[in-house]
């Protein structure tokens, strides 16, 4: 395998507290050496002057839709979108058809990812059989097949006793439960955040309390069982408060926020554009502010896209019939820079930690680091590139983005996976 010398880049690796300009050598698919002379022997030399050299980015919450919904996305198209967004690893949610609740399903995902040969794909498997929320899936067998975490995402685990049992059972395997926190009885036919805007528009609302109550329940159960809890796509200020308090008590809880939740508000729904129909819904400004505070003070560990592709014909419907969700893999990095780094809420190392070492630790995967000997997964970022979101340019099969036309700053210039250059911006 070619040696790659990345010259003169600003190497930021939060896992080692490194942030300095240096020459980094990749060899035999691994991180080989720092501070090598600029003329060191290498088959490929990359000039990274003015660029940021980061551990390959990880998105721990994506929907690749395969098997079952190949009209929305495939593992091949989704991982191509991941590369274009700067990601070298993604963890995909199991709400496919059939859902990922068997060893065979996990192996199918790994197989498809291998054939696509884009980025690394980690499978998150169902907590419950057939994702029905009734009895536990064969978690031990799923772990054996390589599942890194468990979730019924798309739906919450509503049955409190099942959730408690899942926490206890996962203790054996040291795997986290990723819950989509929502009390379904409170959301029902809701299509947007419940507030002034939903009242004006006459649209059924999804109250913040539907998330608050579930987050509090899950924290109580994690605390009682000693289990590992990860809250997906946190969207409310009370959730952030509850997480902050739980962490200060030592509860094993982590959380993620999405770029759309820390960027957009329910005002967007005034357009009735179904690309803004997302679950959890875009909330009010006070919630956006709370998420940014939570990201800044470390309460929220991870930034994840919740990449949720839907074919155009599904989204071009009456608002109540259009499915929830938006794509995100190709806009996440630009939004992190634009919304969090540029205004000074997070510095580069803090922001990158939430997209590298933090998700790697939660999922227990040997990624997200530039330590010598680690897999040579590297993302080279142009932090100053100005660009406009154009859904026609997406590599994802779907273009349901709420950010079309938005001006963003910064994007991945080159993505290296296992020592091979898998993406280079042309």
């Amino acid at each position: 395998m070619d040696r790659i010398l990345i010259r003169n880049g600003r190497v930021i690796d939060p896992s080692q507290a490194i942030d300095r300009v240096t020459n980094l050598l990749l060899a035999e698919g691994r991180i080989a050496a720092y501070d090598v002379p600029p003329e060191a022997a290498a088959e490929v030399v990359v000039d990274a002057s003015g660029k940021i050299v980061a551990p390959g980015l990880i998105d721990m919450h994506v929907h690749l839709r395969e098997p079952g919904f190949e009209e929305d996305e495939t593992i091949a198209s989704g991982t191509a979108a991941a590369l274009a967004g700067g990601f070298t690893s993604v963890a995909c949610m199991p709400n496919t058809d059939p859902p990922v609740d068997t060893q065979a399903a996990v192996e199918f995902i790994h197989g498809q990812a291998q054939r696509a040969d884009n980025c690394n794909v980690y499978a998150i498997a169902c907590v419950s059989k057939n994702r029905e929320g009734k009895e536990l899936a064969e978690i031990g067998q799923l772990v054996k097949a390589g599942a890194v975490a468990f979730s019924d995402d798309g739906a919450p685990i509503g049955d409190t006793e099942l959730m408690r049992r899942a926490f206890e059972y996962c203790l054996m395997f040291d795997k986290p439960l990723l819950n989509h926190a929502e009390i379904r009885e409170l959301t029902q036919s809701g299509v947007m955040h419940e507030g002034l805007i939903s009242m004006i528009l006459g649209l059924p609302g999804i109250p913040a309390a539907a998330e608050d109550v579930m987050v509090s329940r899950d924290i109580a159960l994690a605390e009682a069982t000693g289990g590992r809890l990860h809250i997906c796509h946190v969207s409310t200020s009370n959730s952030v408060d509850a997480l902050r308090r739980a962490k200060s008590r030592g509860v094993r809880v982590t959380a993620e926020a999405t770029p759309h939740h820390f960027t957009l508000t329910d005002e967007c729904l005034r357009s009735f554009d179904s690309n803004f129909k997302i679950n959890p819904p875009l909330r009010g400004q006070e919630h956006v502010d709370a998420l940014i505070t939570g990201l800044a003070d470390g309460t929220i560990d991870v930034i994840a896209s919740d990449h949720a592709p839907h074919a155009k014909e599904k989204k071009m419907r009456e608002l109540d019939q259009a499915p929830f969700g938006c794509v995100g893999l190709e806009t996440t990095l630009g939004l992190v820079i634009r919304r969090l780094i540029e205004p000074g809420h997070l510095d580069w190392p803090a922001a990158l930690a939430k997209m590298t070492i933090n998700p790697a630790r939660i999922l227990g995967i040997p990624k997200g680091t530039l330590k010598i000997g680690a897999d040579a997964d590297v993302t080279i970022i142009d932090p100053a590139a100005r660009w406009k979101v154009d859904p026609a340019q997406f590599r994802s099969k779907s273009c349901n983005t709420p950010f079309a036309g938005m001006e963003l700053t910064g994007r991945a210039e080159m993505v290296i996976v296992g020592g091979r250059i898998k993406y280079r911006r042309s």
Partner: protein, 318 residues
């Protein structure tokens, strides 16, 4: 029958609308313009002039995905009185039951040569979805609990006829505010024209957030009765409620039904409106609904005049 002549006067330059989707987006001047033209049509109707050729050669279509008697027939009559052709589209007999999407259905109908599509749908925003995807004019005839602009306009026209003005009036909307598109269109229209609006009903159906828009909220009809000029009694929308928001219809009627006992405590000039259909005995007792203060049938007549004005302003004035 020969077509009558009518002098509708000038249309000011500020009127540029192609669609009527909400009263929220209209200015006070635009609302007043529609009301003024509607008054002219109303006068002509009263004088027996019922047929005009103002929209001869135009085609309007009713695209109704929810039940309607009044609004549907009112639009059809308004279009025909203006000389337009009227197509009536029924959702149950359409291709929608064969799986065609709404936008495809609408585009197919438009391709038949349609100038205006009058849309009723249970989902808020659907008329806007069509307006964004079609070239013809789109008129919102009620989109779920969102808006029903011509209903708001005809209610306001009825008030203006009675009082000669809207500014300074105190208007109470009573009942199922949460699920009422009529409430929302009334609120926007009335606020823009300077009325004081109270929304009144059980706390499960009256959000305090209305205060953020300068609307007064009340849970007690008896408290507000002595100071209102207009009562607009909204129907309880049982079909939009997943779980009944009050313990029983009986309890609701005891708290909010407009009956003779309550009528006795109102101002003598009180005007009582109901957008209909009404649940007699729930929102209003029959003696009040049919009494001299009630303008329920006047509203229906004004409905035709308002829809003539809207169709003419959107289609005839270009």
């Amino acid at each position: 029958m020969a077509c009558a002549e009518i002098d509708l006067g000038e249309v000011p330059g500020f009127w540029k609308r192609r669609h009527l989707l909400t009263l929220e987006e209209l200015t006070a001047e635009e609302i007043t313009l529609i009301l003024d033209k509607a008054s002219i049509f109303r006068q002509a109707i009263t004088e027996g002039q019922r047929k005009f050729s103002l929209l001869a050669g135009k085609t309007c279509v009713n695209l109704f995905f929810e039940n309607s008697t009044r609004t549907r027939n009112s639009f059809a009559l308004a279009a025909r009185r203006l000389g337009a052709d009227m197509l009536d589209f029924s959702a149950s007999t359409s291709s929608l039951s064969k799986g065609e999407t709404l936008i495809d259905t609408a585009k197919n109908i438009e391709a038949m040569g349609v100038d205006a599509m009058i849309v009723r749908h249970s989902t808020p925003g659907t008329p806007k979805l069509l307006a964004d995807n079609l070239n013809c004019s789109v008129i919102n005839a009620g989109d779920g609990p969102h808006e029903h602009p011509t209903q708001g306009l005809l209610d306001i026209l009825t008030m203006r006829q009675r009082f000669g003005r809207i500014e300074g009036l105190t208007v109470a909307l009573v009942g199922d505010i949460a699920h009422s598109r009529t409430a929302r269109s009334n609120i926007w229209g009335l606020k823009k024209l300077g009325a004081h609006v109270i929304v009144c009903g059980p706390s499960t159906l009256v959000s305090v957030r209305w205060r953020e828009l300068g609307v007064e909220t009340s849970y007690s009809l008896d408290d507000i009765l002595p100071r209102v000029d207009v009562l607009n009694l909204l129907r309880i929308q049982f079909e939009r409620q997943s779980r009944r928001p009050f313990p029983s219809v009986r309890e609701y009627a005891l708290l909010y039904a407009m009956d003779n006992r309550r009528l006795a405590r109102t101002k003598p000039h009180i005007l009582i409106l109901a957008p209909g259909p009404i649940n007699r005995g729930v929102e209003v007792t029959p003696d009040v609904a049919d009494g001299p203060q009630s303008a329920i049938l006047d509203q229906v007549t004004n409905g035709v005049a308002v829809r003539m004005a809207v169709l003419w302003l959107l289609l005839g004035n270009r």
